[in-house]
């Protein structure tokens, strides 16, 4: 049967092939080196511009979010030290000091290193005794008359010349002169309104007897034999705060995290994600009273590795929307605290101490993300995530312990491997 000739021509011509024109590939190649490459160069420049814009946007957004949200300050007043039912006031005021110190002793020497200011309230008089705990072993005893005597054993020390009336009158006058010489000082024991104090050589506060007049003065009874607290600003502050309402303030800053994320695409919908993160976790602590306190700035530096699996819910043009459960392990690699000791509102000492505890912080969470794909390998993302932080079994106070559940927003760039 004769085949339809048009159908026959159709079948023959459908897969028909002929030799290509001579030199065509060379022509295509040479065109590739200019127009094609120029085009790809333009594309590459465009890609870099988008990349740069994406990174800049992500960095600015991260910075803005950090600045806007770093004032997490859960008030956690606890560790009330020496909270008293009696009225609390500051121990003395500089005005009072000036009133009762004569010209020869008007030096107000605040402690520098290894010195502690003690405020002695004798009746209505404030006297200061500055002792150098490093060079001296100061013993304060009472003589048979009940006078307090500070015996200095070393030459290079501070002595005070005092001239205190041994009077039971409320008002007394103390001439206080502070200089580096060696002498024995006598400080008259106060009346019932005066201050009795003592130093303990064994360290710490052996005893504390609190007396106070409503609204004005705080009387403290300091153990007589201990001097160890003199070499420790912390103990000095605690001493100053005896009988004073103190509180502990905690301020946890929002962790600053920077990281690089990698994704390995399993298929069109699923991919595995990992990467490396750096996190800086800062907390501020203030222990003490209004005038005498210790400021601690705790900084923990973590390096972490997240691991998660991502499911792409929808893809539209260059945008992807996905959801991703994940876990993360962050190892603290550096921890330190900086302490500032403040007495009477003035910083007397500062120290930096490395924290030995380097905990491993584990967490898990769920995030949903919006991703913009610059090209097949590079994309920028914004991910709100809900996280739960496991107890790291350390004694450190961190925001992770304060808020075990939290919600945050991550932004960044992602490199995708083997995108099909």
């Amino acid at each position: 049967m004769k085949k339809d000739w048009l159908k026959d021509i159709n079948e023959r011509m459908t897969d028909y092939e002929v030799d290509e024109p001579h030199g065509l590939w060379e022509q295509i190649s040479s065109a590739s080196n200019s127009p094609l490459n120029a085009n790809s160069s333009r594309k590459k420049r465009k890609a870099w511009l988008w990349w740069g814009a994406g990174i800049a946007t992500a960095a600015c957004t991260t910075l803005l979010l950090y600045i806007a949200t770093n004032d997490i300050a859960p008030q956690n007043p606890h560790l009330n030290i020496n909270k008293l039912e009696t009225q609390h006031q500051q121990a003395y005021t500089p005005v009072q000091e000036k009133e009762y110190l004569d010209d020869s002793s008007t030096e107000h020497i605040y402690s520098m290193t290894n010195q502690v200011i003690k405020h002695v309230v004798v009746s209505n008089v404030v006297s200061k005794v500055v002792s150098d705990a490093v060079d001296n072993q100061l013993n304060i005893n009472t003589n048979k008359d009940g006078e307090y005597i500070i015996n200095k054993e070393e030459t290079d020390s501070i002595n005070t010349n005092t001239d205190i009336n041994n009077s039971n009158e409320n008002k007394q006058k103390i001439n206080l002169r502070i200089e580096k010489k060696q002498l024995t000082n006598k400080i008259k024991k106060s009346s019932k309104k005066g201050l009795s104090f003592g130093l303990s050589t064994s360290g710490g506060f052996a005893h504390s007897q609190i007396q106070g007049f409503p609204g004005d003065y705080i009387y403290a009874d300091i153990p007589m034999t201990s001097t160890e607290w003199l070499c420790s600003p912390m103990l000095g502050i605690m001493n100053e705060n005896r009988g004073i309402y103190t509180e502990r303030k905690v301020k946890h800053h929002t962790p600053l995290r920077l990281g690089l994320s990698f994704a390995y695409r399993l298929n069109d919908k699923w991919s595995i994600e990992s990467g490396v993160n750096y996190a800086k976790v800062s907390s501020d602590f203030q222990d003490g009273s209004y005038s005498h306190y210790i400021l601690e700035d705790q900084e923990l530096h973590y390096v972490g590795i997240p691991l998660g699996i991502s499911y792409k819910i929808i893809s539209w043009k260059n945008f992807d929307v996905y959801i991703s459960p994940f876990i993360m392990a962050e190892q603290c690699v550096k921890a330190q605290t900086q302490r500032k000791f403040v007495i009477n509102g003035k910083q007397i000492e500062e120290e930096t101490e490395k924290i030995a505890s380097h905990p491993l912080q584990c967490s898990m969470g769920l995030k949903a993300g919006l991703q913009y794909n610059f090209n097949k390998n590079l994309s920028a993302f914004a991910e709100p995530s809900c996280n739960y932080y496991f107890d790291d079994h350390s004694k450190l106070e961190t925001i992770f312990k304060e808020n075990q559940f939290d919600v945050n927003l991550n932004v960044g760039v992602r490199i995708t491997l083997n995108k099909q």
């Binding site: 004769k2 085949k3 339809d4 000739w5 048009l6 026959d8 021509i9 159709n10 023959r12 011509m13 459908t14 897969d15 028909y16 092939e17 002929v18 030799d19 290509e20 024109p21 030199g23 065509l24 590939w25 022509q27 295509i28 065109a31 590739s32 127009p35 094609l36 085009n39 097949k376 099909q420």
Partner: protein, 179 residues
Amino acid sequence: MISEKELIYLIHKEEQKAKYLMYKKYIRYLTAICSRYISCDEDIKDILQESFFKILTSIERFEYRGEGTLKAWMSRIVLNETLKWLKSNQRFEIVELDNERLDLTVTEPDTEGIPTDEIYKMIRELPVGYRTVFNLFVIEEKSHKEIAQFLGIKENSSASQLHRAKALLAEKINRYRNN
């Protein structure tokens, strides 16, 4: 022979050799498409170069949907470039044949035994207007409406061009057979 899937994978990996492999795999087929419409070899070369340029710059946007889809995609690009060239460079010649010479009553010729190369030559020998419509209708299987849109002519013109092309080609086939 490398499959289309492997070829696309290599091209997406930006393997330089992949482009040449793709060229070698399909250039003869694409040349045949273009040369059915264009008779001048230099014009064919230019059109294929432009077509390949477009193929290579847009290959990343191509979505592979199975074996043969890459070939079909490339052939569409070549066809479009060919028609664009025809529209911009040449008027479609409406050949008014001498009615005495042209037997408008087309008797279907017998193409059995006639080499495909010869049929290919005969098609290329048709006037440009006739062969364009003939190729689009018979081989690309477009409707007259689509052809009219492609070429910017009326549907009636497309139909009459086809009729005349068939008649002329049939005459050529019969003459070949008789010789």
